[in-house]
Symmetry: C2
Subunit: 305 residues, 2 copies
Protein backbone atom coordinates (compact mmCIF):
# COMPACT_ATOMS: atom_id res chain seq x y z
CA UNK A 1 0.00 0.00 0.00
CA UNK A 2 1.17 3.50 -0.85
CA UNK A 3 -0.23 5.53 2.02
CA UNK A 4 -0.47 9.15 1.00
CA UNK A 5 -1.58 10.13 4.48
CA UNK A 6 2.00 9.55 5.64
CA UNK A 7 3.45 12.07 3.18
CA UNK A 8 4.60 15.44 4.54
CA UNK A 9 2.98 18.69 3.42
CA UNK A 10 6.32 20.11 2.43
CA UNK A 11 9.85 18.99 1.67
CA UNK A 12 13.03 21.06 1.89
CA UNK A 13 15.21 20.66 -1.16
CA UNK A 14 18.89 21.11 -0.45
CA UNK A 15 20.53 22.02 -3.75
CA UNK A 16 24.03 20.62 -4.13
CA UNK A 17 24.70 21.48 -7.78
CA UNK A 18 27.12 24.37 -7.24
CA UNK A 19 29.34 22.31 -4.89
CA UNK A 20 28.92 18.54 -5.14
CA UNK A 21 27.70 18.85 -8.72
CA UNK A 22 30.43 21.06 -10.11
CA UNK A 23 33.09 19.26 -8.10
CA UNK A 24 32.40 16.08 -10.02
CA UNK A 25 32.13 17.55 -13.51
CA UNK A 26 34.96 17.51 -15.99
CA UNK A 27 34.88 21.27 -16.63
CA UNK A 28 35.60 24.26 -14.40
CA UNK A 29 32.82 26.84 -14.31
CA UNK A 30 34.17 30.41 -14.13
CA UNK A 31 33.41 32.21 -10.87
CA UNK A 32 31.06 34.74 -12.46
CA UNK A 33 28.94 31.96 -13.95
CA UNK A 34 28.86 30.20 -10.59
CA UNK A 35 27.68 33.43 -9.00
CA UNK A 36 24.95 33.77 -11.61
CA UNK A 37 23.95 30.13 -11.13
CA UNK A 38 23.66 30.59 -7.36
CA UNK A 39 21.66 33.80 -7.75
CA UNK A 40 19.34 32.13 -10.22
CA UNK A 41 18.91 29.11 -7.94
CA UNK A 42 18.15 31.34 -4.96
CA UNK A 43 15.56 33.25 -6.97
CA UNK A 44 13.67 30.04 -7.83
CA UNK A 45 12.82 29.67 -4.17
CA UNK A 46 15.14 26.74 -3.50
CA UNK A 47 15.46 26.99 0.28
CA UNK A 48 19.03 25.73 0.78
CA UNK A 49 22.10 25.68 -1.44
CA UNK A 50 25.59 24.35 -0.93
CA UNK A 51 27.70 26.86 -2.78
CA UNK A 52 31.38 26.12 -2.25
CA UNK A 53 34.07 24.04 -0.65
CA UNK A 54 37.12 25.16 1.34
CA UNK A 55 39.25 22.27 0.26
CA UNK A 56 42.78 22.86 -0.97
CA UNK A 57 42.70 24.54 -4.35
CA UNK A 58 45.20 22.09 -5.83
CA UNK A 59 43.03 19.13 -4.82
CA UNK A 60 39.76 20.40 -6.29
CA UNK A 61 40.53 23.03 -8.93
CA UNK A 62 36.86 23.33 -9.89
CA UNK A 63 36.12 24.84 -6.46
CA UNK A 64 39.35 26.79 -5.92
CA UNK A 65 37.48 30.11 -6.01
CA UNK A 66 35.53 29.62 -2.78
CA UNK A 67 36.74 32.79 -1.00
CA UNK A 68 36.12 35.02 -4.00
CA UNK A 69 32.76 33.39 -4.70
CA UNK A 70 31.56 33.94 -1.14
CA UNK A 71 32.47 37.61 -1.35
CA UNK A 72 30.46 37.92 -4.55
CA UNK A 73 27.35 36.31 -3.06
CA UNK A 74 27.73 37.86 0.40
CA UNK A 75 24.42 39.78 0.16
CA UNK A 76 22.56 36.49 -0.37
CA UNK A 77 24.07 34.86 2.69
CA UNK A 78 21.94 36.83 5.12
CA UNK A 79 18.68 36.01 3.36
CA UNK A 80 19.23 32.45 2.12
CA UNK A 81 20.40 29.21 3.70
CA UNK A 82 23.75 28.56 2.06
CA UNK A 83 26.65 26.42 3.16
CA UNK A 84 30.14 25.43 2.19
CA UNK A 85 32.13 22.29 2.74
CA UNK A 86 34.91 22.50 5.30
CA UNK A 87 37.43 19.64 5.41
CA UNK A 88 39.55 20.76 8.37
CA UNK A 89 40.65 23.61 10.64
CA UNK A 90 42.17 25.57 7.76
CA UNK A 91 38.90 25.35 5.87
CA UNK A 92 37.00 26.51 8.92
CA UNK A 93 39.34 29.48 9.34
CA UNK A 94 38.50 30.49 5.76
CA UNK A 95 34.78 29.93 6.28
CA UNK A 96 34.74 32.05 9.41
CA UNK A 97 36.02 35.02 7.39
CA UNK A 98 32.87 34.91 5.26
CA UNK A 99 29.22 35.70 5.95
CA UNK A 100 28.33 32.01 5.91
CA UNK A 101 25.92 30.86 8.59
CA UNK A 102 26.35 27.15 7.87
CA UNK A 103 29.18 24.81 7.01
CA UNK A 104 29.29 21.14 6.13
CA UNK A 105 31.69 18.33 6.98
CA UNK A 106 32.06 15.20 4.92
CA UNK A 107 32.66 11.84 6.59
CA UNK A 108 32.65 8.30 5.26
CA UNK A 109 30.98 5.16 6.55
CA UNK A 110 33.72 2.98 5.11
CA UNK A 111 37.45 2.78 5.71
CA UNK A 112 38.27 2.34 2.01
CA UNK A 113 36.53 5.52 0.93
CA UNK A 114 37.73 7.44 3.97
CA UNK A 115 41.31 6.61 3.05
CA UNK A 116 40.81 7.25 -0.66
CA UNK A 117 38.86 10.48 -0.32
CA UNK A 118 39.95 11.95 3.00
CA UNK A 119 43.40 10.35 3.27
CA UNK A 120 42.56 9.26 6.79
CA UNK A 121 40.88 6.42 8.62
CA UNK A 122 37.27 6.95 9.63
CA UNK A 123 38.34 7.50 13.24
CA UNK A 124 41.09 9.95 12.36
CA UNK A 125 38.83 11.99 10.08
CA UNK A 126 36.23 12.19 12.83
CA UNK A 127 38.93 13.38 15.21
CA UNK A 128 39.72 16.16 12.77
CA UNK A 129 36.05 17.13 12.50
CA UNK A 130 35.33 17.25 16.23
CA UNK A 131 37.05 20.58 16.99
CA UNK A 132 35.89 21.99 13.64
CA UNK A 133 32.27 21.21 14.40
CA UNK A 134 32.54 22.50 17.96
CA UNK A 135 34.22 25.75 16.97
CA UNK A 136 31.73 26.32 14.17
CA UNK A 137 28.83 25.79 16.56
CA UNK A 138 30.46 28.04 19.15
CA UNK A 139 30.73 30.66 16.41
CA UNK A 140 27.00 30.45 15.83
CA UNK A 141 27.09 28.40 12.64
CA UNK A 142 24.94 25.44 11.79
CA UNK A 143 26.89 22.37 10.76
CA UNK A 144 25.66 19.83 8.28
CA UNK A 145 27.30 16.45 8.31
CA UNK A 146 27.52 14.14 5.35
CA UNK A 147 28.20 10.46 5.50
CA UNK A 148 29.16 8.91 2.20
CA UNK A 149 29.01 5.23 1.23
CA UNK A 150 26.01 4.62 3.50
CA UNK A 151 24.72 1.66 1.50
CA UNK A 152 27.48 0.25 -0.64
CA UNK A 153 31.17 0.82 -1.21
CA UNK A 154 32.98 0.07 -4.47
CA UNK A 155 35.65 -1.95 -2.66
CA UNK A 156 33.84 -3.19 0.44
CA UNK A 157 30.45 -4.06 -1.06
CA UNK A 158 27.36 -3.79 1.11
CA UNK A 159 27.81 -1.46 4.08
CA UNK A 160 26.30 -2.39 7.44
CA UNK A 161 23.82 0.01 8.97
CA UNK A 162 25.91 -0.11 12.14
CA UNK A 163 28.89 1.47 10.37
CA UNK A 164 26.67 4.37 9.34
CA UNK A 165 24.92 5.02 12.61
CA UNK A 166 28.17 4.76 14.55
CA UNK A 167 29.59 7.62 12.50
CA UNK A 168 26.29 9.49 12.72
CA UNK A 169 26.16 9.22 16.50
CA UNK A 170 29.68 10.59 16.78
CA UNK A 171 28.88 13.53 14.47
CA UNK A 172 25.69 14.39 16.35
CA UNK A 173 27.61 14.08 19.60
CA UNK A 174 30.07 16.66 18.26
CA UNK A 175 27.21 19.00 17.49
CA UNK A 176 26.11 18.71 13.85
CA UNK A 177 22.66 20.13 13.24
CA UNK A 178 21.66 17.98 10.25
CA UNK A 179 23.00 14.78 8.72
CA UNK A 180 22.81 13.88 5.05
CA UNK A 181 22.88 10.15 4.31
CA UNK A 182 24.68 9.53 1.03
CA UNK A 183 24.33 6.63 -1.38
CA UNK A 184 27.54 7.60 -3.08
CA UNK A 185 27.64 4.72 -5.57
CA UNK A 186 23.88 4.63 -6.15
CA UNK A 187 23.31 0.92 -5.56
CA UNK A 188 20.66 1.18 -2.82
CA UNK A 189 17.07 0.08 -3.33
CA UNK A 190 14.06 1.10 -1.23
CA UNK A 191 14.33 -1.70 1.32
CA UNK A 192 17.87 -0.59 2.15
CA UNK A 193 16.55 2.89 2.85
CA UNK A 194 13.93 1.55 5.23
CA UNK A 195 16.55 -0.57 7.01
CA UNK A 196 19.00 2.29 7.47
CA UNK A 197 16.34 4.66 8.78
CA UNK A 198 15.29 1.99 11.26
CA UNK A 199 18.90 1.82 12.45
CA UNK A 200 18.79 5.56 13.11
CA UNK A 201 15.66 5.00 15.19
CA UNK A 202 17.56 2.46 17.26
CA UNK A 203 20.05 5.21 18.17
CA UNK A 204 17.23 7.67 18.92
CA UNK A 205 18.34 10.01 16.13
CA UNK A 206 15.15 11.70 14.95
CA UNK A 207 14.32 11.68 11.25
CA UNK A 208 13.74 15.43 11.38
CA UNK A 209 17.54 15.82 11.68
CA UNK A 210 18.24 13.62 8.64
CA UNK A 211 18.46 14.34 4.95
CA UNK A 212 18.92 11.89 2.08
CA UNK A 213 21.34 12.17 -0.79
CA UNK A 214 20.85 9.58 -3.51
CA UNK A 215 22.86 9.11 -6.65
CA UNK A 216 21.13 7.89 -9.77
CA UNK A 217 23.91 5.66 -11.05
CA UNK A 218 21.60 2.63 -11.03
CA UNK A 219 18.42 4.58 -11.78
CA UNK A 220 17.18 4.28 -8.20
CA UNK A 221 17.58 7.81 -6.83
CA UNK A 222 14.01 9.03 -7.11
CA UNK A 223 12.47 5.77 -5.90
CA UNK A 224 14.78 5.79 -2.90
CA UNK A 225 13.94 9.41 -2.20
CA UNK A 226 10.23 8.66 -2.41
CA UNK A 227 10.74 5.81 0.04
CA UNK A 228 12.61 8.09 2.45
CA UNK A 229 9.85 10.69 2.23
CA UNK A 230 7.22 8.03 2.93
CA UNK A 231 9.38 7.15 5.95
CA UNK A 232 9.32 10.68 7.34
CA UNK A 233 12.39 12.34 5.79
CA UNK A 234 11.67 15.95 4.83
CA UNK A 235 15.04 17.21 3.54
CA UNK A 236 16.31 15.90 0.23
CA UNK A 237 19.57 16.68 -1.56
CA UNK A 238 19.47 17.10 -5.32
CA UNK A 239 21.37 18.85 -8.06
CA UNK A 240 20.04 21.07 -10.81
CA UNK A 241 20.32 19.43 -14.22
CA UNK A 242 21.68 16.36 -12.42
CA UNK A 243 25.06 18.14 -12.24
CA UNK A 244 27.79 15.88 -10.93
CA UNK A 245 29.14 12.80 -12.60
CA UNK A 246 29.71 9.56 -10.84
CA UNK A 247 33.28 9.09 -9.70
CA UNK A 248 32.96 5.30 -9.48
CA UNK A 249 31.57 4.27 -12.84
CA UNK A 250 31.88 5.54 -16.36
CA UNK A 251 28.19 6.36 -16.12
CA UNK A 252 27.24 9.95 -16.83
CA UNK A 253 24.68 9.99 -14.07
CA UNK A 254 25.42 11.15 -10.58
CA UNK A 255 23.15 13.27 -8.44
CA UNK A 256 19.40 13.13 -8.45
CA UNK A 257 18.19 15.96 -10.68
CA UNK A 258 16.33 18.70 -8.81
CA UNK A 259 13.84 19.18 -11.64
CA UNK A 260 12.74 15.51 -11.61
CA UNK A 261 12.39 15.62 -7.82
CA UNK A 262 10.32 18.81 -7.90
CA UNK A 263 8.12 17.36 -10.65
CA UNK A 264 7.37 14.41 -8.40
CA UNK A 265 6.87 16.39 -5.20
CA UNK A 266 4.60 18.97 -6.78
CA UNK A 267 2.71 16.16 -8.54
CA UNK A 268 2.13 14.64 -5.11
CA UNK A 269 0.90 17.97 -3.76
CA UNK A 270 3.99 18.37 -1.56
CA UNK A 271 5.14 21.97 -1.48
CA UNK A 272 8.79 22.93 -1.92
CA UNK A 273 8.60 26.72 -2.14
CA UNK A 274 10.17 26.41 -5.59
CA UNK A 275 8.84 28.11 -8.71
CA UNK A 276 9.12 25.20 -11.14
CA UNK A 277 9.14 27.40 -14.22
CA UNK A 278 11.97 29.50 -12.77
CA UNK A 279 13.85 26.28 -12.08
CA UNK A 280 13.36 25.18 -15.69
CA UNK A 281 14.51 28.58 -16.89
CA UNK A 282 17.69 28.03 -14.89
CA UNK A 283 18.14 24.58 -16.45
CA UNK A 284 17.62 26.09 -19.90
CA UNK A 285 20.15 28.81 -19.10
CA UNK A 286 22.67 26.13 -18.04
CA UNK A 287 22.08 24.24 -21.27
CA UNK A 288 21.91 27.11 -23.71
CA UNK A 289 24.19 29.78 -22.27
CA UNK A 290 26.66 27.74 -20.25
CA UNK A 291 26.68 24.70 -22.54
CA UNK A 292 26.06 22.15 -19.81
CA UNK A 293 24.70 18.73 -20.65
CA UNK A 294 21.39 18.49 -18.79
CA UNK A 295 20.60 15.12 -17.23
CA UNK A 296 17.21 15.95 -15.74
CA UNK A 297 14.65 14.06 -17.78
CA UNK A 298 11.82 16.44 -16.85
CA UNK A 299 13.93 19.43 -17.87
CA UNK A 300 14.90 17.81 -21.16
CA UNK A 301 11.27 16.97 -21.93
CA UNK A 302 9.97 20.42 -21.04
CA UNK A 303 12.74 22.60 -22.43
CA UNK A 304 12.66 20.82 -25.77
CA UNK A 305 8.91 21.13 -26.20
CA UNK B 1 5.44 4.83 5.78
CA UNK B 2 6.90 2.40 3.27
CA UNK B 3 5.28 -0.87 4.26
CA UNK B 4 7.34 -3.73 2.94
CA UNK B 5 4.79 -6.23 4.17
CA UNK B 6 2.50 -5.12 1.33
CA UNK B 7 5.05 -5.99 -1.36
CA UNK B 8 4.47 -9.11 -3.43
CA UNK B 9 6.90 -12.04 -3.37
CA UNK B 10 7.25 -11.94 -7.12
CA UNK B 11 6.58 -9.63 -10.05
CA UNK B 12 6.07 -10.62 -13.67
CA UNK B 13 8.09 -8.50 -16.04
CA UNK B 14 6.51 -8.09 -19.46
CA UNK B 15 9.31 -7.18 -21.84
CA UNK B 16 8.22 -4.78 -24.58
CA UNK B 17 11.59 -3.97 -26.14
CA UNK B 18 11.24 -6.02 -29.34
CA UNK B 19 7.86 -4.45 -30.18
CA UNK B 20 7.11 -1.14 -28.42
CA UNK B 21 10.80 -0.42 -28.03
CA UNK B 22 11.93 -1.05 -31.59
CA UNK B 23 8.77 0.56 -33.00
CA UNK B 24 9.81 3.88 -31.50
CA UNK B 25 13.49 3.81 -32.40
CA UNK B 26 14.92 5.59 -35.40
CA UNK B 27 16.62 2.50 -36.83
CA UNK B 28 15.26 -0.75 -38.23
CA UNK B 29 16.74 -3.87 -36.66
CA UNK B 30 17.22 -6.69 -39.20
CA UNK B 31 15.00 -9.72 -38.61
CA UNK B 32 17.86 -12.02 -37.69
CA UNK B 33 19.04 -9.65 -34.99
CA UNK B 34 15.48 -9.38 -33.67
CA UNK B 35 15.33 -13.16 -33.54
CA UNK B 36 18.59 -13.27 -31.64
CA UNK B 37 17.39 -10.54 -29.26
CA UNK B 38 14.18 -12.45 -28.53
CA UNK B 39 16.04 -15.71 -27.99
CA UNK B 40 18.49 -14.00 -25.68
CA UNK B 41 15.66 -12.31 -23.75
CA UNK B 42 13.82 -15.61 -23.38
CA UNK B 43 16.95 -17.30 -22.10
CA UNK B 44 17.35 -14.70 -19.31
CA UNK B 45 14.15 -16.00 -17.76
CA UNK B 46 12.01 -12.98 -18.66
CA UNK B 47 8.55 -14.54 -18.40
CA UNK B 48 6.68 -12.57 -21.10
CA UNK B 49 7.82 -10.81 -24.26
CA UNK B 50 5.94 -8.81 -26.86
CA UNK B 51 7.73 -9.73 -30.03
CA UNK B 52 5.97 -8.18 -33.01
CA UNK B 53 3.11 -6.16 -34.42
CA UNK B 54 0.74 -7.00 -37.26
CA UNK B 55 0.27 -3.42 -38.32
CA UNK B 56 0.52 -2.45 -41.97
CA UNK B 57 4.13 -2.69 -43.11
CA UNK B 58 4.03 0.76 -44.71
CA UNK B 59 2.87 2.34 -41.44
CA UNK B 60 5.52 0.81 -39.20
CA UNK B 61 8.49 -0.29 -41.34
CA UNK B 62 10.50 -1.26 -38.27
CA UNK B 63 8.03 -4.09 -37.57
CA UNK B 64 7.19 -5.08 -41.15
CA UNK B 65 8.77 -8.50 -40.71
CA UNK B 66 6.24 -9.86 -38.18
CA UNK B 67 5.21 -12.93 -40.18
CA UNK B 68 8.77 -13.99 -40.97
CA UNK B 69 9.90 -13.26 -37.41
CA UNK B 70 7.18 -15.42 -35.91
CA UNK B 71 8.17 -18.31 -38.17
CA UNK B 72 11.76 -17.98 -37.00
CA UNK B 73 10.84 -18.03 -33.31
CA UNK B 74 8.02 -20.59 -33.65
CA UNK B 75 9.78 -23.14 -31.39
CA UNK B 76 9.85 -20.60 -28.57
CA UNK B 77 6.13 -19.85 -28.79
CA UNK B 78 5.11 -23.12 -27.18
CA UNK B 79 7.43 -22.70 -24.21
CA UNK B 80 7.38 -18.94 -23.57
CA UNK B 81 4.65 -16.34 -23.15
CA UNK B 82 4.97 -14.16 -26.23
CA UNK B 83 2.50 -11.86 -27.89
CA UNK B 84 2.09 -9.60 -30.88
CA UNK B 85 0.08 -6.45 -31.41
CA UNK B 86 -3.01 -6.79 -33.59
CA UNK B 87 -4.67 -3.57 -34.78
CA UNK B 88 -7.66 -5.05 -36.62
CA UNK B 89 -9.20 -8.10 -38.29
CA UNK B 90 -6.46 -8.31 -40.92
CA UNK B 91 -3.86 -8.34 -38.18
CA UNK B 92 -5.75 -11.07 -36.36
CA UNK B 93 -5.93 -13.15 -39.54
CA UNK B 94 -2.15 -12.95 -39.77
CA UNK B 95 -1.69 -13.73 -36.08
CA UNK B 96 -3.92 -16.80 -36.31
CA UNK B 97 -1.57 -18.27 -38.94
CA UNK B 98 1.25 -18.30 -36.39
CA UNK B 99 1.90 -20.33 -33.25
CA UNK B 100 1.13 -17.31 -31.05
CA UNK B 101 -0.93 -18.01 -27.95
CA UNK B 102 -1.49 -14.36 -27.07
CA UNK B 103 -2.21 -11.15 -28.94
CA UNK B 104 -2.51 -7.55 -27.81
CA UNK B 105 -4.82 -4.69 -28.79
CA UNK B 106 -3.95 -1.05 -28.31
CA UNK B 107 -6.64 1.46 -27.29
CA UNK B 108 -6.44 5.07 -26.18
CA UNK B 109 -8.06 6.86 -23.25
CA UNK B 110 -8.18 10.12 -25.19
CA UNK B 111 -9.85 11.16 -28.42
CA UNK B 112 -6.85 13.17 -29.63
CA UNK B 113 -4.44 10.28 -29.42
CA UNK B 114 -6.99 7.79 -30.74
CA UNK B 115 -7.44 9.90 -33.83
CA UNK B 116 -3.73 10.60 -34.24
CA UNK B 117 -2.53 7.07 -33.62
CA UNK B 118 -5.46 4.83 -34.60
CA UNK B 119 -7.14 7.13 -37.09
CA UNK B 120 -10.44 6.54 -35.32
CA UNK B 121 -12.43 7.88 -32.40
CA UNK B 122 -12.15 5.97 -29.14
CA UNK B 123 -15.60 4.44 -29.69
CA UNK B 124 -14.88 3.41 -33.28
CA UNK B 125 -11.54 1.84 -32.38
CA UNK B 126 -13.23 -0.15 -29.61
CA UNK B 127 -15.87 -1.31 -32.12
CA UNK B 128 -13.05 -2.61 -34.31
CA UNK B 129 -11.45 -4.42 -31.36
CA UNK B 130 -14.61 -6.15 -30.11
CA UNK B 131 -14.83 -8.86 -32.80
CA UNK B 132 -11.04 -9.19 -32.86
CA UNK B 133 -10.91 -9.85 -29.13
CA UNK B 134 -13.85 -12.24 -29.26
CA UNK B 135 -12.48 -14.24 -32.18
CA UNK B 136 -9.05 -14.41 -30.61
CA UNK B 137 -10.51 -15.69 -27.35
CA UNK B 138 -12.70 -18.17 -29.24
CA UNK B 139 -9.53 -19.36 -30.94
CA UNK B 140 -7.99 -20.04 -27.55
CA UNK B 141 -5.70 -17.02 -27.42
CA UNK B 142 -5.15 -14.73 -24.49
CA UNK B 143 -5.67 -11.06 -25.29
CA UNK B 144 -3.77 -8.27 -23.64
CA UNK B 145 -5.30 -4.82 -23.83
CA UNK B 146 -3.32 -1.61 -23.70
CA UNK B 147 -4.73 1.78 -22.90
CA UNK B 148 -2.46 4.66 -23.77
CA UNK B 149 -2.60 8.22 -22.40
CA UNK B 150 -3.98 7.03 -19.06
CA UNK B 151 -2.65 10.02 -17.11
CA UNK B 152 -1.90 12.87 -19.46
CA UNK B 153 -2.30 13.65 -23.14
CA UNK B 154 -0.05 16.04 -25.08
CA UNK B 155 -3.08 17.92 -26.43
CA UNK B 156 -5.74 17.34 -23.78
CA UNK B 157 -3.64 17.67 -20.61
CA UNK B 158 -4.64 15.72 -17.53
CA UNK B 159 -6.79 12.69 -18.32
CA UNK B 160 -9.68 11.81 -16.01
CA UNK B 161 -9.67 8.39 -14.38
CA UNK B 162 -13.21 7.93 -15.71
CA UNK B 163 -11.99 8.04 -19.31
CA UNK B 164 -9.54 5.25 -18.55
CA UNK B 165 -11.84 2.93 -16.64
CA UNK B 166 -14.64 3.39 -19.19
CA UNK B 167 -12.35 2.07 -21.90
CA UNK B 168 -11.04 -0.62 -19.56
CA UNK B 169 -14.52 -1.85 -18.69
CA UNK B 170 -15.39 -2.14 -22.35
CA UNK B 171 -12.21 -4.09 -23.14
CA UNK B 172 -12.74 -6.49 -20.23
CA UNK B 173 -16.35 -6.87 -21.33
CA UNK B 174 -15.09 -7.92 -24.74
CA UNK B 175 -12.87 -10.53 -23.15
CA UNK B 176 -9.33 -9.23 -22.67
CA UNK B 177 -7.35 -11.26 -20.17
CA UNK B 178 -4.97 -8.54 -18.97
CA UNK B 179 -4.88 -4.75 -19.23
CA UNK B 180 -1.75 -2.65 -19.35
CA UNK B 181 -2.20 0.94 -18.14
CA UNK B 182 0.08 3.25 -20.11
CA UNK B 183 1.54 6.60 -19.11
CA UNK B 184 2.44 7.33 -22.70
CA UNK B 185 3.84 10.81 -22.13
CA UNK B 186 5.43 10.01 -18.77
CA UNK B 187 3.96 12.89 -16.74
CA UNK B 188 2.32 10.86 -13.96
CA UNK B 189 3.52 10.97 -10.38
CA UNK B 190 2.79 8.41 -7.64
CA UNK B 191 -0.45 10.00 -6.42
CA UNK B 192 -1.90 9.74 -9.92
CA UNK B 193 -1.13 6.03 -9.90
CA UNK B 194 -2.92 5.56 -6.59
CA UNK B 195 -5.93 7.51 -7.89
CA UNK B 196 -6.23 5.54 -11.11
CA UNK B 197 -5.95 2.19 -9.35
CA UNK B 198 -8.70 3.30 -6.96
CA UNK B 199 -10.88 4.06 -9.98
CA UNK B 200 -10.35 0.49 -11.18
CA UNK B 201 -11.50 -0.72 -7.76
CA UNK B 202 -14.68 1.30 -8.19
CA UNK B 203 -15.45 -0.75 -11.32
CA UNK B 204 -14.56 -4.00 -9.55
CA UNK B 205 -11.68 -4.70 -11.92
CA UNK B 206 -9.18 -6.68 -9.84
CA UNK B 207 -5.57 -5.52 -9.73
CA UNK B 208 -4.44 -9.02 -10.59
CA UNK B 209 -5.70 -8.36 -14.14
CA UNK B 210 -3.78 -5.10 -14.48
CA UNK B 211 -0.25 -4.28 -15.58
CA UNK B 212 1.50 -0.91 -15.56
CA UNK B 213 3.50 0.62 -18.37
CA UNK B 214 5.37 3.78 -17.41
CA UNK B 215 7.50 5.96 -19.61
CA UNK B 216 10.48 7.69 -18.10
CA UNK B 217 10.20 10.95 -20.03
CA UNK B 218 9.96 12.94 -16.77
CA UNK B 219 12.14 10.58 -14.74
CA UNK B 220 9.16 9.14 -12.88
CA UNK B 221 8.82 5.63 -14.34
CA UNK B 222 10.48 3.61 -11.61
CA UNK B 223 8.86 5.60 -8.76
CA UNK B 224 5.46 5.12 -10.36
CA UNK B 225 6.13 1.42 -10.84
CA UNK B 226 7.19 1.08 -7.21
CA UNK B 227 3.98 2.82 -6.19
CA UNK B 228 1.90 0.45 -8.33
CA UNK B 229 3.66 -2.56 -6.83
CA UNK B 230 3.01 -1.25 -3.32
CA UNK B 231 -0.62 -0.97 -4.44
CA UNK B 232 -0.84 -4.61 -5.47
CA UNK B 233 0.16 -4.60 -9.14
CA UNK B 234 2.29 -7.63 -10.01
CA UNK B 235 2.84 -7.27 -13.77
CA UNK B 236 5.13 -4.51 -15.01
CA UNK B 237 6.03 -3.58 -18.58
CA UNK B 238 9.61 -2.57 -19.30
CA UNK B 239 12.06 -2.52 -22.16
CA UNK B 240 15.60 -3.83 -22.25
CA UNK B 241 18.15 -1.02 -22.46
CA UNK B 242 15.20 1.39 -22.25
CA UNK B 243 14.58 0.74 -25.97
CA UNK B 244 11.94 3.04 -27.39
CA UNK B 245 12.19 6.78 -27.74
CA UNK B 246 9.44 9.13 -26.73
CA UNK B 247 7.25 10.15 -29.63
CA UNK B 248 6.04 13.32 -27.88
CA UNK B 249 9.22 15.07 -26.82
CA UNK B 250 12.72 15.34 -28.15
CA UNK B 251 13.79 13.47 -25.06
CA UNK B 252 15.77 10.31 -25.64
CA UNK B 253 13.99 8.50 -22.86
CA UNK B 254 10.93 6.38 -23.37
CA UNK B 255 10.26 3.06 -21.75
CA UNK B 256 11.31 2.08 -18.27
CA UNK B 257 14.53 0.08 -18.62
CA UNK B 258 14.16 -3.57 -17.65
CA UNK B 259 17.61 -3.65 -16.04
CA UNK B 260 16.82 -0.76 -13.65
CA UNK B 261 13.51 -2.38 -12.73
CA UNK B 262 15.12 -5.75 -12.05
CA UNK B 263 17.84 -4.09 -9.96
CA UNK B 264 15.14 -2.56 -7.78
CA UNK B 265 12.95 -5.64 -7.53
CA UNK B 266 15.81 -7.99 -6.70
CA UNK B 267 17.13 -5.40 -4.23
CA UNK B 268 13.73 -5.52 -2.54
CA UNK B 269 13.85 -9.31 -2.46
CA UNK B 270 11.06 -9.59 -5.04
CA UNK B 271 11.70 -12.46 -7.41
CA UNK B 272 11.32 -12.06 -11.17
CA UNK B 273 12.67 -15.36 -12.46
CA UNK B 274 15.27 -13.37 -14.37
CA UNK B 275 18.99 -14.07 -14.33
CA UNK B 276 20.27 -10.51 -13.92
CA UNK B 277 23.72 -11.30 -15.29
CA UNK B 278 22.19 -12.86 -18.41
CA UNK B 279 20.06 -9.73 -18.79
CA UNK B 280 23.17 -7.55 -18.55
CA UNK B 281 24.93 -9.77 -21.07
CA UNK B 282 22.02 -9.10 -23.44
CA UNK B 283 22.30 -5.35 -22.82
CA UNK B 284 26.04 -5.54 -23.50
CA UNK B 285 25.37 -7.49 -26.69
CA UNK B 286 22.88 -4.80 -27.80
CA UNK B 287 25.44 -2.09 -27.10
CA UNK B 288 28.56 -3.76 -28.44
CA UNK B 289 27.35 -5.97 -31.26
CA UNK B 290 24.20 -4.20 -32.41
CA UNK B 291 25.40 -0.66 -31.68
CA UNK B 292 22.34 0.36 -29.68
CA UNK B 293 22.53 3.28 -27.29
CA UNK B 294 21.73 1.83 -23.87
CA UNK B 295 19.55 3.97 -21.62
CA UNK B 296 19.43 1.70 -18.59
CA UNK B 297 21.48 3.38 -15.89
CA UNK B 298 22.14 0.12 -14.05
CA UNK B 299 23.33 -1.52 -17.27
CA UNK B 300 25.57 1.43 -18.11
CA UNK B 301 27.07 1.39 -14.61
CA UNK B 302 27.66 -2.35 -14.57
CA UNK B 303 28.75 -2.95 -18.16
CA UNK B 304 31.30 -0.14 -17.99
CA UNK B 305 32.85 -1.35 -14.76
Amino acid sequence: MFDRSTLPNSVTIYEVGPRDGLQNEKFVLPTLLKVELIKRLASTGIPAIEVASFVRADLVPALADADELLLEIAPLLSTHRMSALVPNQKGLDRALKTELREIAVFASATESFSKANLNNSVADSLDIFTPVIRQARDSGLDVRGYISMCFGDPLEGKVSTKQVVDVAERLFGDGITQLSIGDTIGTATPGDVVDLLAAFDSRAIPRSLLAVHFHDTYGQALSNTLTAILEGITTVDSSIAGLGGCPFAKSATGNLATEDLVWQLHGLGISTGIDFQALLDTSAWLAEKVGINIRSKAAIALINQ
